[in-house]
């Protein structure tokens, strides 16, 4: 089979993740969906690196993981403090941007 399928899979996962971000209200789940998207990207990178026959793709994926880790730490911290302040983990509750 053609490794391009990995790319298709990545695209699929990414789309699902994105849709999840848009649909779910629970901040944590939204976050998970974001992670899903990141992972999809990673998969794509890995597949690319295999195609081009060099490791740069994997390096990028690696960096992505690191960044994702950092992001998760901060993000979850934010969620926690948010939950503390308003006793809810719903993204819609934090809708102060409206006039």
């Amino acid at each position: 089979m053609n490794p391009v399928n990995y790319l298709y899979l990545a695209a699929l996962l990414f789309t699902i993740g994105a849709t999840g971000v848009l649909i779910r209200r629970n901040a944590i789940v939204v976050f998970m969906c974001i992670e899903l998207m990141l992972n999809a990207c990673n998969l794509a990178f890995v597949a690319f690196s295999r195609m081009h026959g060099n490791l740069d793709g994997q390096i990028i994926a690696f960096f992505t993981m690191v960044v994702a880790a950092a992001e998760v730490v901060v993000g979850l911290a934010i969620i926690v403090s948010l939950f503390r302040s308003r006793h809810s983990a719903s993204v819609d509750d934090a809708s102060l941007m409206k006039l």
Partner: protein, 663 residues
């Protein structure tokens, strides 16, 4: 000698400035100062007159160039004066009659606390009028033209506390303004056609013609008609005559000076002065004669119906000026006689008005002739002077009116052709009616039983909300306390009678003096030129005819008002009478068409401006606001919906890139 001309104007102008700016500290001497300066002007006029007589007839023209007024590329207007026989005649009339009326006003206005201002206005008028007749170009003449308009506005509305007076003043100014529009258009036409509007180059002199000859007849007709419009406004000719009657709201001396003797004749001056143009515009001339004829009948008819003595005289003024305009329209045949009648009319009409003023002065400012009667033994001087004026105006043989009017009627016939007959007929008819209404005035005022006895008179002029006794003269509130008491007719003080006597002399002898040996004709001919038309009827016939109609008129009047007692309350009268009382409905026409229509027009325009013009702007603003309000809804503050739009955007971007790569 030329330099005196400026002084002629300067004297009254100085008076006006001093009296109006001077303030109350001049109240004591103001009237004397004003009179003195008017007299000064008269004296200077006499000196210049003597100087002119010294020269020989051809070069009796003095000019004085003061300074360049409006120097603009291709547009030259100077402040320069030209004194020729025509101007001289007017100067003497204006300053002479003017000084007399100043004198008269001293007595007449002495109860008025604002007498100083009154004299200031009078001086202002003199200055403007002199400027009008002395100007050597039309634009400067225009200044004087509007100047007299302003003065008349101020003087008609002198008793501003009376709404009627204020309205009359405004009306006079507005109607005049319509005429002025004509004058300014005429000047513009001259400027466009000839590049100048100075008398010298434009009209030329009797030996070498001016530029006017060079223009097409259509243009000249246009100019002439516009000048005629101006003349109609100033001289209260149909269709712009409506203001003169109301102008009688002003103090009587004003009516005498401005609205009888001088200002209203400015139109005639304008036409005669522009003779060179009119002579080349026969159509316009015909219109002039028509206007004159119509007005002389119109005024006469109105004069017959009025019970207000001043309004009756105003009607007669209108019709007499109609005579002048008619004569002026006849061209070289008539110019001289127009001016001659103007001068004599200046004398006797002024005298008549002063007499009327004197009567009112003695009758608690009562102006309704039906409440007069039998006053001759109470006011002998007034009676005699008024009577002489009366005889003069109806054209009693030997008195000045006789000569001047007779000449005009002759000239009208001399026009020749059908229109000659028609015009002459109108003139004759006018003479008859004149005799009628003047006799009526005479009889109602000085003869018959004393209708004012044991019935208090009340001035028809609406008493104002002012504290009484604040005003004198014929202000209703003037004799506030006495206003409802039975009047005590008495002769007026010297300062009032003397001018009346002098004017009476003028109205008796002026005509004869002018006509014997055609003095006046020779005096004016160099300016206006003269030609004897070919009259189909001999002068004698005309004179006889005039006499006949005169007798008829007097007889009818006597039959109506001398034999029978005059009812104190006016009878309903015939349709014509009622119409005439309302100025032949001409005012009603103005009111309905112009005033009402104008009000509606402006009101609707205000609405349009607010809703339409402004509405468009505000509408745009509102629509933009509404749109943005709707756009704001998109900003709901939910991060997720922002994310959706972002996601959609990304999708679109990808689509775009793919498409780019596809093509």
């Amino acid at each position: 000698m030329e330099n005196l001309i400026a002084l002629l104007i300067a004297a009254p102008l100085l008076g006006a400035a001093v009296l109006l700016v001077g303030g109350r500290r001049l109240d004591a001497v103001g009237h004397w100062l004003g009179t003195l300066l008017a007299a000064t002007s008269f004296v200077i006029g006499l000196v210049l007159f003597a100087d002119l007589l010294g020269k020989d007839a051809e070069d009796r023209t003095l000019t004085q160039h003061l300074f360049s007024w409006i120097p603009v590329e291709g547009f030259q207007a100077d402040v320069a004066f030209q004194l020729d026989q025509l101007s001289m005649t007017f100067v003497l009339l204006i300053t002479g009659v003017g000084s007399l009326i100043h004198l008269y006003s001293i007595g007449y206005m002495e109860h008025d606390e604002r007498r100083r201002r009154f004299f200031g206005y009078l001086n202002l008028f003199l200055a403007a009028m002199l400027l009008l007749v002395l100007a050597d170009n039309y634009l400067l003449l225009y200044v004087g033209w509007e100047g007299v308009g302003l003065a008349s506005y101020l003087l008609i509305g002198f008793w501003q506390h009376k709404p009627s007076a204020a309205t009359a003043a405004k009306k006079a100014f507005l109607v005049n303004r319509v005429g002025d529009m004509g004058l300014s258009i005429a000047i513009m036409l001259m400027f466009t056609t000839f590049g100048t509007f100075a008398f010298g180059p434009l009209l030329g002199t009797h030996e070498e013609p001016g530029l006017a000859g060079g223009a097409s007849e259509a243009t000249l007709n246009g100019i002439a008609l516009m000048l005629l419009l101006a003349a109609c406004g100033k001289s209260a000719q149909v269709p712009l005559q409506s203001w003169l009657g109301d102008a009688m709201e002003g103090p009587t001396p004003v009516s005498a000076l401005i609205h009888a003797a001088t200002m209203v004749t400015a139109g005639v001056y304008l036409i005669v002065r522009s003779a060179a143009i009119f002579n080349l515009a026969p159509d316009a001339q015909l219109v002039v004669t028509i206007v004159g004829a119509v007005t002389l009948l119109f005024g006469a008819i109105v004069g017959c119906a009025k019970d207000d003595i001043k309004k009756a005289l105003a009607g007669s003024t209108m019709s007499q000026i109609g005579y002048m305009v008619l004569a002026a329209g006849l061209g070289p045949i008539g110019y001289v006689f127009a001016i001659m009648h103007l001068v004599t009319h200046g004398f006797f009409k002024a005298g008549l008005f002063l007499g009327a003023g004197s009567v009112m002065h003695g009758m608690n400012d009562e102006v309704d002739m039906r409440k007069y009667g039998g006053l001759r033994k109470y006011m002998p001087v007034t009676f005699i002077t008024f009577g002489l004026g009366y005889l003069a105006i109806i054209g009693f043989p030997g008195l000045s009116g006789f000569f001047s009017k007779d000449k005009i009627i002759e000239a009208a016939f001399a026009k020749g052709g059908t229109e000659g007959w028609i015009l002459g007929g109108c003139a004759l008819l006018g003479a008859a009616i004149t005799a009628y209404y003047m006799t009526r005035v005479m009889l109602m005022t000085f003869f018959g039983e004393e209708r004012w006895k044991n019935q208090p008179t009340r001035s028809p002029q609406a008493p104002s909300a002012e504290p009484a006794a604040a005003y004198g003269g014929d202000a209703a509130a003037g004799h506030g306390a006495a206003a409802t008491a039975e009047p005590h007719p008495h002769e007026s003080p010297k300062s009032m009678t003397i001018p009346m006597i002098v004017l009476a002399f003028g109205s008796v002898f002026a005509g004869g003096f002018f006509s014997i040996g055609d003095r006046f004709l020779h005096w004016l001919e160099p300016v206006t030129g003269h030609s004897h038309g070919d009259s189909p009827v001999s002068a004698l016939t005309v004179t006889l005819a005039t006499m006949v109609v005169l007798v008829i008129g007097v007889a009818v009047a006597y039959a109506q008002y001398g034999r029978r007692p005059v009812p104190v309350v006016a009878p309903r009268g015939s349709l014509l009478t009622r119409a005439a009382r309302r100025d032949l409905l001409q005012d009603d026409f103005n009111h309905v068409v112009l005033v009402r229509g104008g009000e509606h027009l402006t009101r609707s325009l205000v609405y349009v401006d607010h809703t339409l013009v402004d509405g468009v702007v505000n509408g745009t603003a509102a629509s933009v606001g509404g749109l943005s309000g709707r756009m704001r809804k998109l900003q709901n503050g939910y991060a997720r919906s922002y994310a959706v739009s972002m996601f959609g955007g990304v999708a679109i971007l990808i689509a775009a890139t793919l498409l780019m790569r596809a093509v």
